[in-house]
Amino acid sequence: MQHTHISARQSLFDLKLREFWQYRDLVWLFTRRSFKVSYMQTILGPLWLFINPLLTSITYVVLFGNIAKLSTDGVPQLLFYLSSHALWTFFAGCVTSNASTFTDNANLFGKVYFPRLVMPVSSVLSKLIHFGIQMLMVLVLLIWYAGKGMVAPLWQRWFLLPLLLLQLGMLGMGVGIIISSLTTKYRDLRILVDFGVSLWMYATPVVYPLSTVSDALRRLLRWNPVAPVMELYRRLLLGVGQVDGVSLSCSILVSLAVAFAGVLIFNRIERTFMDTV
């Protein structure tokens, strides 16, 4: 029979991963639920998953491509913005959806126990599915343009894509749950999140390639752990992008550290946050 020991003293590194594994069905159910619930009682239903990124990308084409005349390194503009937007939304989604884990679920957390980490992991999964759906659109465009010889994807390196998504997912979740852990105490951080994430987008080569910025600015952008991932992603997908080993390995290290720290803090806060919310 299952034995549970609850003690006032708990090691900081006791992450209860075995227990988490027991609850894997719950992760999947939460993922499905958030998916299902968000398109219930809407006219277009899951079609929004396509309409939304498409409209945003078209806006980018008009705004950044035609008016601001930003370069896309020779890649067809729609494809460039659509694919960059997909990856950025995945990352931003991981941050924002996790940033309010504790406050959004206070009601549920206050009544029943399950490993709280289930929530962040399932929201990363559901963002991943969103990303996958957007990728279908990107693929259609990609094959079309590749057939016409306008882009040269590095097909044989695509096995790196899942790793890249894993890294971004970890980074996004880490940042998100650190914020959510702090918001149990400091409510004002919540306001900062939306603002911060949109600023972060401009500090990341999403609507422009890294190759167009000045050297000084590029040195600055190297500190942004999302930047090299974005460039690598476009390199694999579209055949353009500047990837250097140093900043990429830094970004990987930062992601790992943030995710680990996030889980530690989360685990700590989770024990008693019901008393402060």
Partner: protein, 422 residues
């Protein structure tokens, strides 16, 4: 006690809550305090007149609980509001962590701290069953195995694929309870869930819980203010007061201990403003403020003595003639008898004192609780309550030593007319 027989072991459990505003609410204030401290200045966010740092208002919701619960026991937990009942359950359910002490649990815990835990309004009944099961840590296969039982028990087969937002509150409770009662958990925790739902379903739930304990060896922890359901369900009962266990044992005696504790000992002058009133609406115009037992030092009555009360009322607006009601309850909180007064016109507003005299020569012996109420009568002769206090006072009738309450009961009845049949 053998470890393998135990379902739950609690040692030295304490839980501290901070009172008042928890922490500084903004990061700015926190930084300000920290910066001031660094420079050796006064903390600008500290309340004036309090000591730095150490002075933190807190109270112990649980103050050292030790408990062993064997497998298959049905344990009731009672206590006044704020005694620590819900905190104890929350710690056992791992919703929050203890400040000190340890809990060992053998088996899975399913909690019904509130109805429909984890239900999502947009999802169908069936989906919610899966969700709820998964929250308890069950796998899909395990839930599949008991899905049919749950649907049958809930009496909601036709509606099982309807989103639960279309359910009535009664249906919602039925589904929620059915899920909790059938999912594979070794320990069931219930907090006042039976308050909703129709009578027939309540009875069904109680017998289901008893069955779960007796036949499947599941342990039941049940918190309620309803002494009758405690009496029906539990074979052991724990009384909590101010975060400590003050009684642990048989349910009837626990109920007596709880009532005794909540009322103080045979008081003769009671401030009713601090007791829980049962008022239909707060602005009813009449409220009871003070109750005295006339000419008594302790609330002990000789057989044949009258119960004489002085009741102080606060009347804020003109009222029709008032009817007074006294209901006597036994030591274990069973209703015994009710008496009404004639209508009494109340002329003055403000404070009024009423003398109530009730002959209690039919009470033979024992401890009794008195509930007191003020009513008015409507055009149809129905009684409408202004103010009512259950367990307002307590008294004892000393009685004859040979009278045994368990064997003879609480009351004398009038003499039997015996006649020879010719």
């Amino acid at each position: 006690m053998q470890e393998q027989e135990l379902a739950l072991r609690i040692r030295g459990l304490k839980k501290k809550y901070r009172l008042g505003v928890i922490n500084h609410s903004t990061l700015q204030a926190e930084l300000q305090s920290w910066w001031a401290q660094k420079r050796g200045r006064e903390d600008p966010n500290r309340r004036i007149g309090t000591e730095a740092k150490t002075d933190e208002q807190s109270f112990w919701a649980l103050d050292g609980i030790d408990l062993d619960i064997r497998r298959g026991e049905r344990v009731g937990i009672i206590g006044a509001n704020g005694a620590g009942k819900s905190t104890l359950l929350k710690l056992i359910c791992r919703i929050t962590a203890p400040t000190e002490g340890e809990i060992d649990i053998w088996g899975r815990v399913s909690s019904m701290l509130e109805v429909g835990t984890g239900f999502h309004r947009e999802m169908t009944g069936r989906e919610n069953i899966y969700m709820n099961g998964a929250i308890l840590g069950m796998s899909r296969a395990e839930i599949d195995a008991c899905l049919e039982n749950i649907i049958d028990f809930s009496e909601l087969r036709e509606f099982i694929d309807t989103p639960v937002k279309r359910y009535s509150s009664g249906m919602f409770v039925k589904l929620a309870f059915s899920v909790a009662a059938h999912l594979h958990s070794e320990i069931m925790i219930m907090d006042e869930v039976l308050a909703v739902g129709d009578m027939a379903f309540q009875q069904k739930c109680l017998s289901r819980m008893r069955q779960a304990a007796d036949e499947e060896g599941r342990t039941v922890l049940y918190v309620s203010h309803n002494m009758n359901t405690i009496r029906q369900l539990c074979d052991r009962c724990i009384v909590l007061s101010h975060g400590r266990v003050i009684f642990d044992g048989d349910a009837e005696r626990a109920i007596a201990a709880y009532l005794n504790e909540s009322l103080g000992d045979n008081d003769v002058d009671m401030d009713l403003t601090v007791k829980p009133h049962f008022q239909k609406n707060a602005s009813s115009g009449v409220s009871m403020t003070r109750l005295r037992l006339v000419d008594k030092v302790t609330a002990v009555y000789e057989p044949g003595e009258d119960l004489r009360l002085l009741l102080t009322l606060e009347i804020s607006e003109p009222v029709p003639p008032l009817y007074f009601r006294l209901t006597l309850r036994t030591e274990t909180d069973l209703g015994l008898a009710t008496a009404w007064s004639q209508p009494l016109p109340m002329e003055h507003r403000g404070e009024n004192t009423v003398r109530l005299i009730l002959p209690i020569d039919s009470l033979a012996k024992g401890c009794f609780y008195g509930s007191i109420g003020v009513y008015r009568s409507d055009e149809l002769g129905r009684m409408l309550s202004f103010d009512h206090i259950t367990h307002a006072f307590k008294f004892e009738v000393s009685g004859l030593p040979v009278w045994n309450v368990d064997a003879h009961g609480y009351m004398h009845l009038p003499q039997i007319r015996a006649e020879c049949e010719t």
